[in-house]
């Protein structure tokens, strides 16, 4: 099987400081990869390099495009990369406000990506928007409300709907449950797990919440100071951590 995303030796430096260094992995179709680590460990930097928001200083990010060949997203032209950004890729920000247009209605937010790839039939766009709101458990009657009138959890679900509307194949998530209370987190995770399985998505989830990766991720990568210190199956890494830092991380989780 060809991997969907092949990451080789990706590095990013902020001056003399390391953002992330020498990161490499393969992500296969329908696979969910979790990246954990403490604040400043370089996981967000890595995610932004992979999603084309930051230009890495070295390495390759090969993506298996719909035409069937592996293309380096670092060296491809900007129009191509932005095209991927609104078709095959989705990016879920930690703060829904970063990923939504706050002065545009919920329906418009979901419809934007459809219109960006050429949808020009209002009725169809609206139907799709309503359908997607339903899938993320937002009531149809809220379709013309602005995101500002939504609760934090609803905003996050709206952001997910907006991202998934064009049927992407790879979803980048940056702390998707950050800042939400636990019951809302649980529902959101449930929803995400359902969507990922249903749509056969591949996803890369960056988080510092081990419970999130335990639920969602098939595989886990632990980062510290810009380097990957441990990788493996999620359950294996969490139940039998090998690296000292991973052991610290796992043992630091509050047991209720």
């Amino acid at each position: 099987m060809t991997p969907l995303l092949k990451v080789q030796n990706v590095s990013k430096y902020y001056g003399s400081r390391i953002g992330c260094a020498g990161v490499g992995f393969d992500l296969y179709p329908r696979e969910v990869l979790g990246i954990v680590g403490e604040s400043g460990s370089g996981k967000s930097t890595l995610l932004n390099c992979l999603a084309g928001h930051l230009e890495p200083d070295g390495g390759e990010v090969l993506f298996h495009t719909r035409t069937g060949d592996m293309k380096d997203t670092v060296t491809m032209s900007e129009p191509e990369r932005r095209m991927l950004g609104r078709t095959d890729w989705a990016f879920v920000h930690q703060h829904a406000r970063d990923g939504l247009r706050m002065n545009v209605s919920a329906g418009g937010n979901v419809g934007e990506r459809l219109m960006a790839v050429g949808a020009r039939h209002y009725g169809d766009i609206r139907d799709a928007a309503v359908d997607w709101l339903g899938r993320v458990e937002i009531d149809e009657t809220r379709v013309d409300d602005r995101p500002g009138q939504f609760s934090g959890g609803m905003q996050q679900r709206l952001q997910i709907a907006r991202n998934l509307a064009t049927g992407p194949r790879l979803v980048f998530m940056d702390e998707p449950t950050g800042g939400l209370d636990v019951s809302v987190q649980a529902r959101l995770l449930d929803l995400l797990r359902g969507l990922v399985r249903q749509m056969g998505l591949s996803a890369i989830i960056v988080t510092h919440d081990l419970a999130v990766v335990r639920l969602l991720a098939d595989r886990l990568m632990v980062m510290k100071d810009g380097h990957v210190v441990e990788t493996g199956l999620t359950d294996q890494v969490l139940d039998d951590p090998q690296h000292a830092y991973t052991q610290l991380l796992v043992s630091s989780v509050l047991q209720v």
Partner: protein
């Protein structure tokens, strides 16, 4: 020192006080370069070094600079504001060029070689030997959806115009129809999305015309242009097509059915009349004997 005034053939008295059309020659040259670039890339916003003009921003400083750079001593100038020749903005700009350029002025659309306009296209069809200069407040059609200029420039260069339809989508979602009635976005030659300045969307179809159209935004420091017969398409949805709407009425003064109308409130009782916004067009029709409903009523009272 070079005496520029000695070279100019006419208006020697005015020329000693002002360079022809107020702006200095270097500035006009800079603006002409921007205009030529704009004509070469229809719909593309060309940055230019906008000057301070002796009028406030928002009163047509962009249009005035474009007119100043385009005027020749042989030109006949017409200035309209919302279609009218006799409103403050139109009168003061016309006087400005009478004083600084000494050019002939007119109120008749067909006599003018250069027409500066705010918010309207004249009803009378323009010809190939005419230039229409628009005053533009905000040249960026994507501005209200995307505040970053860096981002909007990138969106133009990469032809990412999905956002423009989001605006129209919002209109339909909120009002049941595309409620944008002026500054209705257009796509030029299948490439650049352009703000036609706040002309009513009724005027949008007229933009495919024989005359050269130049757009100047003084505060925003942008010039863009449409060469003659450029293809201009108003954006819309398949199931909500573009409609060039106007008040469903005939002009009360001249009876015109096909011209764009202003609504005038007559008294506290809510009586109103509709008149052509293009004063020259309306006067021309009345001179030719056309009569509207209000004019008929007035005549009856007079008798």
């Amino acid at each position: 020192m070079l005496d520029l005034s000695a070279k100019s053939p006419e208006n020697a008295a005015e020329m000693s006080e002002y360079n022809f059309a107020y702006l200095d020659e270097q500035t006009k040259r800079m603006i002409r370069r921007a205009i030529l670039k704009g004509l070469a890339i229809p719909g593309y916003q060309v940055p230019f070094a906008s000057r301070e003009m002796p009028m406030p921003y928002g009163w047509g400083t962009g249009g005035v600079q474009v007119s100043a750079a385009t005027l020749t001593p042989e030109d006949t100038l017409k200035v309209i504001d919302q279609g009218a020749d006799d409103t403050t903005n139109a009168v003061s700009i016309r006087k400005f060029f009478e004083k600084t350029a000494g050019v002939a002025t007119t109120e008749e659309t067909s006599d003018a070689s250069l027409i500066q306009t705010r918010h309207r296209i004249p009803e009378t069809e323009l010809s190939e030997d005419q230039i229409l200069v628009y005053q533009v407040p905000i040249p960026e059609p994507l501005r209200f959806l995307e505040p970053s200029e860096v981002e909007t420039r990138k969106m133009h260069s990469l032809e990412e115009y999905g956002l423009m339809h989001v605006k129209l989508y919002e209109d339909i979602a909120k009002h049941g129809a595309i409620a944008t009635a002026y500054a209705y976005p257009v796509k030029v030659e299948g490439r650049y999305v352009m703000d036609p300045s706040p002309i009513p969307k009724f005027d949008n179809p007229k933009m495919e015309m024989a005359a050269i159209q130049l757009f100047g935004a003084g505060r925003e420091q942008r010039i863009y242009a449409l060469p003659p017969y450029t293809k201009v398409v108003s954006l819309d949805f398949d199931d909500y097509p573009f409609e060039a709407s106007k008040a469903d009425h005939a002009c009360d003064m001249c009876g015109a059915e096909e011209s764009y109308l202003d609504e005038v409130i007559m008294d506290d009782a809510g009586n109103r009349m509709f008149v052509c916004s293009d004063t020259d067009y309306c006067a021309g029709r009345r001179a030719a004997g056309h009569v509207g409903a209000q004019a008929v009523a007035d005549r009856e009272i007079g008798q």
